[in-house]
């Protein structure tokens, strides 16, 4: 089987500062992969690189065998990759429904009804300006919006950050639902618990390089690696 997403020897710069020093990562169809790492090691940069948001890039980026290098962001998104960005990026001055409708495409297998079905709380607030939602609701909206185009790959950047434990549980259940429906996910997370609950493969990044990868069982056994490359309070 050929990988759905293949990142090989990816290097990225912000101006002169070299941030990614050769990241390699593959994601097979139907797979959920977690990308873990401390603050500032390049997780967000990796996801943004895939979406064509970095102007200074080197290496290989393939989606379904097709190179994404040099493609504009909207074209990459149209191929079927949705990013839920760090801090969610919801449109505060648009209503919940407008946020969702803007992302919808005629070819999509998702629609408003399926979004309400997955997040009943959002339907109750469909006419509310998204800026008025709670943090948890905003994260649900961000995920629902990312699903509206009917993506073939979902990139999630720290979806549980700053949310209360009950909300985190709710989001974990949602992600498991999506996974069960066959949607591949590349998840950036700081919480090991969330990673273990969702992903079957885990990749640890440190200072712009992949330092470890393995399945959930191997992660349990990789005590030393976890201690060395992830902060203790998150372990």
């Amino acid at each position: 089987m050929k990988p759905l997403l293949e990142i090989a020897d990816l290097q990225a710069w912000y101006g002169k500062s070299h941030v990614l020093h050769g990241v390699s990562l593959t994601l097979m169809p139907g797979e959920t992969v977690a990308l873990l790492g401390r603050n500032g090691v390049g997780k967000t940069t990796t996801l943004r690189s895939v979406m064509g948001l970095l102007s200074n890039l080197k290496g290989t980026l393939l989606f379904d065998g097709r190179s994404l290098m040099g493609m504009p962001t909207h074209a990459i998104a149209s191929l079927g990759i949705s990013l839920v960005p760090e801090h969610r990026g919801i449109f505060a001055t648009l209503t919940v429904e407008e946020n969702l409708k803007l992302a919808w495409r005629p070819s999509s297998r998702w629609d408003l009804a399926s979004a309400w079905n997955m997040f009943p709380a959002l339907e109750e607030r469909r006419k509310t300006y998204a800026g008025k939602l709670s943090g948890g609701e905003q994260q649900m909206l961000a995920i629902a919006r990312a699903l509206m185009p009917g993506p073939r790959l979902l990139l999630l950047d720290e979806p549980t950050e700053g949310l209360a434990p009950v909300i985190v549980e709710r989001l974990v259940a949602t992600m498991r639902e999506l996974k069960a429906a066959g949607l591949p996910i590349l998840l950036v997370e700081q919480s090991l618990d969330v990673c273990r609950a969702i992903a079957e493969r885990h990749v640890i990044i440190d200072e712009g390089r992949i330092v470890w990868s393995g399945d959930t069982q191997a992660l349990e056994a990789a005590d030393r690696i976890v201690r060395e490359h992830l902060t203790l309070e998150n372990a």
């Binding site: 962001t73 990026g89 001055t93 409708k101 803007l102």
Partner: protein, 287 residues
């Protein structure tokens, strides 16, 4: 002032205000969306007015002028966006100001070369050259028609902004163009349409005002100043703000010009200062 005079000046002010709204709405939209400072915006008003003048001279009909004025401005807005302006989006504001100011000067000087520096009159469309009676009150039909036409356009624009997907993309884009492109929408196209529509409306403002005030080569830079005042008074990026700001400035200017003609211009800036004292982000602005 007498009641009739006040009413007359108020109506004039509303007419001027609606023209100011048409002039400014593109500027505020484009700034809200792209954070782009366009000192060439007044040029589109100038182009609209001179196209109206030329077309009415050539065809003898102001109706053709009404069609071609906005069209010429829209085309010029689109061409300058594609050819020049889009390369400056990533540049600092100072660079954008320099480039667009140069563009404005080139157009102004070209107008002087093609025509001459003198002011010229533009006729009122024949059908609207009369007056209307509202009870015992008499008012020029053309001025009334301008208010109606602009109001219809304002309603259509509001509808397009609030009820269409393109409008939603435009509003979303003024929060984050990056996020809009992440949804698979080509923001370059959104920018193009914003320039086309905004330019066409500024051209329409120039066209509509040509029979009221004539044309002269410096009307573009004057319009630019007014448009910036309207945008700041209304709140940057706000459609409703452009409407309220345009009306406020129009009425202030019209009232002031009957009380103190030499100071009418000064009063505009006075009104702006007052609004900003009370609401620093403008009438409808988000701070």
């Amino acid at each position: 002032m007498q009641g009739q005079v006040i009413l007359f000046q108020l109506l004039n002010g509303i007419g001027i205000g609606m023209i100011y709204f048409l002039l400014s709405v593109g500027l505020t939209m484009i700034f809200g969306l792209m954070r782009f400072v366009n000192f060439a915006h007044g040029t589109l008003y100038l182009v609209g007015a001179y196209t109206a003048y030329s077309v009415s001279l050539l065809t003898g009909s102001m109706w053709w002028a009404l069609a071609f004025g906005p069209l010429a401005a829209a085309v010029i807005a689109l061409i300058s966006e594609r050819l020049i302006l889009r390369h400056t989006y990533e540049m600092p504001h100072e660079a954008q100001i320099l480039v667009t100011f140069a563009l404005a000067l080139i157009f102004q000087e070209s107008i002087i070369l093609i025509f001459d520096p003198l002011a010229k009159n533009v006729p009122v469309p024949s059908l609207l050259s009369g007056i209307v009676f509202i009870g015992s009150f008499v008012y020029p039909a053309y001025r009334l028609a301008v208010v109606f036409a602009a109001a219809v356009i304002a309603i259509l624009l509001w509808f397009a902004l609030e009820r269409t997907r393109f409008g939603a993309a435009l509003r979303a884009g003024s929060e984050s163009t990056e996020m809009v492109s992440l949804l698979g929408i080509n923001v370059q196209k959104v920018f193009m349409v914003a320039f086309l529509v905004g330019g066409g409306l500024a051209g329409l403002a120039g066209t509509l005002s040509a029979p009221l005030r004539g044309v002269e080569p410096f009307m573009g830079s004057e319009a630019l100043g007014v448009a910036f005042v309207v945008v700041v008074v209304g709140g940057i990026g706000s459609f409703t703000g452009a409407l309220l700001g345009g009306l406020l400035i129009g009425v202030v200017q019209s009232m002031a010009s009957s009380l103190w003609p030499e100071g009418a211009r000064l009063m505009i800036y006075g009104a702006m200062a007052l609004v900003l004292l009370v609401r620093p982000a403008g009438l409808m602005g988000r701070s």
